[in-house]
Symmetry: C2
Subunit: 667 residues, 2 copies
């Protein structure tokens, strides 16, 4: 079963699409920009294992030293760089990768151990706080870097030390009497080990991943206690000193470790941790489908709980800032002044990773719809068009406390290199190819519509599938299959929002969509190697579940969710909180080529059914309903309300006022 | 300026009203019931200063020992008992008061100090943690008990030791070089000292109250630092060990001490503390009006912020459970599963106390409307009709985690004796009498409509004002003034909800309502000593501010807010979360005399425009608006929806499902 991290090599993005342009920006600007930041902040040289002055800093988030993730920052950059360099050779980047790999090699301890903090700062504390410190998370990213490095350079220069480190880990962790019966507080190594196993076929790699995934949350796994409880006792932790991210006395749920995955009924805790864990679990299911039906049911249950009750209309997850994670069912405020809206970039990338794995075992468009929703909204909004500014938090509404803006970098810098590496191999998310040239039958599934060419190996030789489209602005997709064989079947995705109104030309009789995918038989394809799919691309008004208490309207068009910004609506003074929109409003579309960024998109305008509610005129804890309605109907009329794609927000200066969901005006 | 705690002695509640029946219950059942609990839990004997086994218990809420409030539990019971015994002599209660007072006297230390915990358990820590431990709070309640005791018994048996203790406090606290430059974490003593000053006229008592009120929040008051900061340093507190009620690293706002009151712009923190503090501040303003215009402006600003943005439709305040206090502006979820709804009983009593003080300086019905709202809803709901079960939290909607129910007692038992003492002197909230028989002009203001007689002293001798009404069920109030003089002016309150439709008989020409009060001139009164006020008592649909994101309908009738309960609506399975109500619905009223409780009230029924939304049918993070509306319109029709007064909830068994605000059904 291929991973997007390798499958992308068979896919070439054609110039001009939004995604290809962002990938090009990553290649031409972001890679080098991030390299400079790695250097200026001390990260680049950190594997030299010298003291850095910042190691003395008090933690921003106690008890985690600010530099604890530096290993992963380097590893993720290497990984992303190796993806980009597959198609965009760059001598400067190449030299940096070589130097970094040399440093990592030289940082390896005699027994194989590799970690900056626990070699330089607290060597005596190695593997004593799996719960809060990120040793195994860092190790996981090093593994992923090594896989990407090996794929690019076809050598073991990075893989060799990493395999040695993994050997140490396999020896250290497990259920044996002299092993640590624990698992990482921040999952990541699990999915990395499974990818490594796919490469090495070393059963020890599978075994360790399986142990970490299935042991997690065992209430009696360590001498009859939960591992994190007994580990804390061994450290002599003062139970009254709780980490800053714990809202309560004990928060095993923060780590998705309150129960084994099998017994988890709702998605809880830190959203990135949960996504990385479930991505690994979904991959474990793929690798041992027959022995994991219960695990599959549990993971699917958690997916549904998340998507139905804990996901924003942008695909963002995690309302709560304190623990960077999930709140109560249906608790999805749009911004800080309403109670929270974190929606971390890495978490949305994690949703895409999880959706991709789930799709491999269950081809169901409900996963793909969410994957695409995340890509074009919660993920894409995290990087500026110039590739040099980023968001960590992707709120749906700004506030005085949290204006809509991007930053050049973060102390905890997980997000910027994560969008880098995702865009580096995004081609791997477009298609799934199964079957092989050996037995003759090949099935291609197209999940995403992005102008691209997929290389094929058939019995008769090389072939290709090409799609041409101006997606996400236009719903027409032209396919061209080049194959000397007629044994290629194709499935194309019909998004949920398009299911009532799509069209295939030439016409395909007996057309049937099964779980969001339309199957195109090989025989038809042989006769119609060039065909066109038309999907309806027009504005839709969407609204979240009534239990969210967000009686709001948002605008979507295809996979794109829109927002309003002060740049286009300079009259705004309250972050659009008092704005109200009649659901019977009409939209005017217009093509925009933004001068300052070069971005092209379709903007939307509403010229009717928009007003501003006079919020300050209401006093007291309640108002008679008739009076309340009258006050809402007597708001100040807004003549023009302009929307831009959410991913484009905060790209043109302005005052940082923005909102996705507009209060519904019930006239 | 009279206090309700003394003014009530001139008021006799006539039999039959809801309030009088609750007061009767307090007298016949609650007083004795609570006395038994005080005895069985160890509180009664605690002033004997012997060790109690519970003193070893780990705190439920770290770092506060569970028994830290026992002094106040005793004091509040004595205070309430002394009010009740003014009209309901009871030998057993009388004996208990005497015994308790003897114990308090004997518990006094040679220097005047009185406190259970800091004499028995940690004598070396006296006055070392004003921030979190409740020494001065307890002292305040002892002062209030002594005032009530002196009023009842006309002796100084309790007042004497309390004055000695207060003398110690006056010596200990202040801005002098050898004094502690601090103030209590939980305000209470400030309002008690001002009441004491009214009695003693001792300027030291005023001075200490004034110091506590105005020094609070001084950022540089203690050696250039905030007192709570320097106090914590003196204790050697580990800054990483934060109290359970602190959501963040530093929470001066929890104590309403983040800034001087003068500079506070929004109401924050623990809601009871804020109310007790502002009640004292409002009383300070009354006592020195000319020197406190800025303080008055600040207090009024905080009142408006609270009432307009942080108060539930029941009058409850404080959404947040962790700090028992205020959340963000407009953050008013109805229950635990939506994000919180604490609305502590003591806080609603505190709102009444604050409103009463504000009324004395500004006669404005907006304060009285809130005072009455609290009384009949957030406060009255906290005690069962039999007077033996109580609530601490007064949520607007139940959930699986927090069913609608009362308890026989609480570890932190502030609320039960608070409702006891409030009902004990509730007559003092009905009228304000100003002027005096000496100069001949008397002005009576009627704030609340409760059948009662107010005794008057006029130049011509004793007189009275009587009101007869079946309030809150009927809006007709019959007044009868008995006075041998025609120098009595009367103001009667016209509630905000009645301002369009009230009637006075006989007719009064040139009728004018100023800020919610109608002035009835002495000349008219002399001709019409018997007259009738008619206020419209019919169901109103009310809704909170749109920014609360609670698009709900609640029913009010007069001052009473209604709720739905499973007892009358046995089909409910989800705590009425999916219930939707058309604002065009019609109400059917019917008189109820409840068999099990003996309570009489008007129940309401809706037989049209009610349905249950199928919440589980919606999947994914959003739905197209048209589809969403169709789903809401296709809910399961409910034939009969029955409402009972909110104060009556949880009085008849049932499954603990209840809700005040019903989702609005926009058809």
């Amino acid at each position: 079963m291929a991973y997007p991290q390798t499958a992308f090599k068979a896919v070439t993005l054609n110039p001009g699409s939004l995604i290809q342009k962002r990938q090009e920006t990553v290649s031409s600007a972001t890679l080098l920009y991030q390299l400079e930041i790695l250097k200026s902040t001390g990260r680049y040289d950190a594997f030299k294992l010298k003291w850095h002055s910042s190691y003395d800093d008090a933690p921003d988030v106690w008890p985690i030293p600010n530099h604890l993730f530096w290993d992963s920052d380097i590893a993720k950059w290497i990984e992303g760089a190796c993806y980009v360099l597959q198609t965009h050779p760059n001598a400067e980047i190449d030299a940096a990768i070589h130097e970094l790999v040399d440093m990592i090699r030289s940082a390896q301890q005699p027994d194989g151990y590799i970690n900056i903090h626990f070699t330089v700062v607290e060597p005596e504390k190695r593997f004593t706080n799996l719960r809060d410190f990120h040793e195994l998370y860092n190790a996981g990213h090093l593994i992923e870097a090594a896989l990407a490095h090996q794929d690019l350079y076809h050598n073991d220069h990075l893989m060799e030390p990493i395999l040695k480190y993994v050997k140490l880990l396999c020896k250290t962790f497990g259920d044996g009497p002299n092993q640590i019966h624990g698992y990482p507080g921040h999952p990541e190594i699990e999915l990395a080990l499974l990818r490594l196993f796919e490469r090495t076929k070393d059963p020890e790699h599978f075994k360790l991943a399986n142990y970490f995934i299935t042991e997690r949350g065992n209430p009696t796994g360590d001498d009859g206690q939960h591992f994190y409880v007994s580990e804390a006792k061994r450290r002599g932790d003062d139970p009254r000193k709780r980490p800053d991210y714990w809202p309560d006395k004990s928060c095993l749920w923060y780590y998705s470790a309150h129960a084994p995955i099998l017994e988890q009924k709702s998605i809880e805790g830190h959203s990135v941790r949960a996504m990385y864990l479930l991505t690994a679990a979904a991959d474990l299911i793929l690798k041992s489908e027959s022995t994991t039906p219960d695990l599959k049911q549990a993971v699917l249950g958690l997916w549904d709980n998340m998507v139905d009750r804990k996901m924003y209309v942008t695909g963002g997850i995690g309302a709560m800032k304190q623990w960077e994670g999930f709140g109560l069912d249906y608790f999805l405020p749009q911004g800080t002044d309403e109670g929270g809206c974190y929606a971390e970039t890495c978490a949305a990338i994690g949703v895409m990773m999880l959706a991709e794995r789930l799709l491999q075992s269950d081809l169901d468009g409900r996963f793909t719809d969410i994957m695409e929703l995340c890509l074009y909204n919660a993920v894409l909004t995290s990087m500026s068009p110039n590739g040099k500014e980023f968001t960590y938090v992707n709120q749906l509404a700004s506030s005085e406390a949290d204006p809509s803006q991007r930053s050049s970098w973060f102390t905890c810098a997980c997000c910027p290199p994560n969008i880098l590496r995702l865009l580096g191999h995004i081609g791997g998310y477009i298609y799934t190819t199964t079957g092989s040239s050996a037995n003759g039958d090949i099935q291609i599934t197209t999940h995403l519509y992005i102008s691209s060419t997929l290389d094929l190996e058939t019995l008769g030789g090389k072939g290709s599938l090409t799609q041409e489209t101006n997606w996400p602005w236009d719903g027409t997709v032209k396919f061209r299959l080049k194959s000397r064989e007629d044994n290629v079947t194709l499935k194309v995705r019909i998004p949920g929002w398009a299911s009532d109104d799509f069209k295939l030309s030439p016409e395909l009789l007996d057309i049937g969509v099964d779980k969001g995918y339309l199957t195109i038989p090989g025989s038809w394809l042989a006769e119609n190697p060039i065909f066109e799919l038309q999907l309806p691309m027009k504005p839709r008004l969407i609204t979240p579940h009534p239990f969210t208490n967000q009686d709001t309207l948002s605008i979507a068009r295809g996979p794109i969710v829109y927002c309003v910004e002060d740049t286009d609506n300079p009259w705004v003074t309250d972050h659009f909180r008092s704005l109200q929109l009649d659901p019977k409003c009409q939209f005017i579309e217009h093509d925009v080529r933004d001068r300052s960024t070069g971005d092209e998109y379709i903007a939307l305008r509403v010229e009717n059914g928009v007003s501003l509610f006079k919020a300050g005129a209401v006093s007291g804890p309640s108002t008679e309903v008739k009076q309340s309605k009258a006050m809402r109907d007597q708001g100040e009329i807004v003549e023009k309300l302009n929307f831009v794609p959410y991913f484009f927000r905060a790209s043109r200066g302005g005052n940082g006022q923005s909102r996705v969901g507009i209060r519904q005006w019930h006239r």
